[in-house]
Amino acid sequence: MLEVEKLSKSFYSGFLIRRRFDAVKEVSFSLSRGKALGIVGESGSGKSTIAKLVARLLKPTSGRIYFNGTEITSLYDKEFRSFRPRIQIIFQHPETALNPRMKIYDSIAEPLRIHRLVGSRREERARVKELIREVNLPTELLSRYPAMCSGGEVQRVVIARILALEPELVVADEPTSMLDVSVQAQVLSLMKRLQRDRRISYLFISHDVGVVKAFCDEVLVLRRGEVVEHGKSERVFLSPSHEYTRRLVRASNVSCMANNS
């Protein structure tokens, strides 16, 4: 469903002397319908950049992205519009994920309105209620503002908005890194359920090895913009072949190790 071929992204900075920073270097991978692919790496590894490239919030310096067989990288923005609903993104920070001046109801209704998916106010209200129930949140939340909601609630509202467009691919950029461990479990189990029921594919980006191991079928290990290892999560994490992967796995196990004093 998603094919990424030698994707690269460089950032240029500097006034008199142009400096180049290669965030992503010729990364390739593919993702099938209904599967979850994880991208692990430290901060600065380029994983967030890949997320934005796939969600077309950034344009690649080189490389190609294919979606359901169509090459989307060379499309003009206008041509891409029809693909927009099918590729969506969830971000990391619940505090800034929603417009603070808009009520939850309006935030969820927004995608319905701009893509004209509902005809009347009544239809809209019904659909919004349906969506918020699907993410296990009470309808009372609809009249609140984001500031009055907890992190876990906000992330679920974000999921509800995305569901309005019935996406096929959801890019999740560290969606639970800012959440408590118990809330993380709620959000992730919701995402898992949606993956099963709606055959949604996830590009799941995280620095947390444990989470990626539990959530994703396949994983890509990213280091300074390059893929150092790729394979089924079980295999990669239980018997890593690359030294860097070993280090990552060890670090996550340290936090799991029993107190040996």
């Binding site: 927009r84 800034t96 994920a97 995608p111």
Partner: protein
């Protein structure tokens, strides 16, 4: 906080005077009555009369209309123009931003009054021309302010989410960016009204704005100079009105600014 109630009361009074001057004025402001000229304040004429026998209280009240509407118009145009340009410059960056900022820098490098004088010189002295002149310089501070806030907000995740959802640039600017950058601009506009009123009085004093026989505070001040020693009340009341009005708008603008100080940025 109590001071603000007074400021609010005064501003409300000014607005009432501006909207219904005839209701509050005991006399026709332009009614000449030479045998009652230069009378000191009395029960019949609370603020006294001027050299033409016109009731000063009525003239001052009508002056509120002139000053208030002109002041609001100037602040309003500056606010609208500046906010719009600031949004565009901040959001699109690149050549649009360069252009707007160069103009801003140029205008800020010259004293606004001089530019206003030049414009009046070209267009001729009258109230409408004065409004145009002052608005042409006034928009700059809004553009700067709004551009700064826009630059911050446009990087926020909810804006990127909106783009990912498929919102058009115009929609994003209108629905997502504008509401989150506008509060400090509104506070500035309230302050600006006071400052505009002051400029209007000043320029009219110089003869470059409102023209006689319009009852405008600046003109009244100018006409009162000849009688400064013999009939000071001609000078005192318009002067007092300017002071009190401008002060009240400033106080109101300040309190709005501090109450809304969190709204320009996100988070708490």
């Amino acid at each position: 906080m109590r001071g603000n109630k007074i400021a609010l009361a005064i501003v409300s009074a000014i607005i009432l005077f501006a909207l219904f001057p005839d209701v509050f004025s005991p006399y026709d402001p332009n009614q000449i009555n030479l045998d009652r000229a230069l009378e000191t304040p009395s029960l019949k004429h609370l603020f006294g009369t001027d050299n033409f026998g016109r009731d000063i209280l009525s003239r001052v009240i009508h002056g509120a209309r002139v000053s208030f509407f002109a002041g609001v118009t100037i602040a309003g145009i500056s606010f609208a123009l500046g906010t719009l340009l600031g949004l565009i410059a901040g959001y699109y960056g690149g050549p649009a931003d360069e252009l707007v900022m160069r103009v801003v820098d140029i205008l800020l490098a010259m004293p606004g009054i001089i530019i206003a004088l030049i414009i009046i010189g070209i267009l001729g002295p009258s109230m409408p021309n004065l409004v145009v002149a002052l608005a042409s310089v006034g928009w700059v501070k809004y553009a700067r302010l709004v551009r700064g806030s826009t630059l911050e907000i446009k990087e926020e995740e909810f804006v990127e989410s909106a783009r990912a959802l498929g919102c058009t640039d115009f929609y994003i600017l209108y629905r997502h960016i504008l509401p989150n950058v506008i509060s400090p601009a509104i506070a500035l506009a309230t302050l600006d009204i006071g400052s505009a009123i002051l400029h209007i009085a000043g320029m009219s004093f110089l003869g470059l704005g409102a023209q006689p026989p319009t009852p405008e505070w600046g003109i009244m001040l100018r006409e009162s100079i000849a009688f400064m020693e013999t009939a000071p009340h001609l000078m005192i009341f318009p002067g007092l009105m300017i002071f009190v009005t401008v002060y009240s708008f400033n106080a109101l603008g300040d309190s709005l600014g501090s109450r809304w100080r969190h709204y320009g940025t996100l988070g708490d």
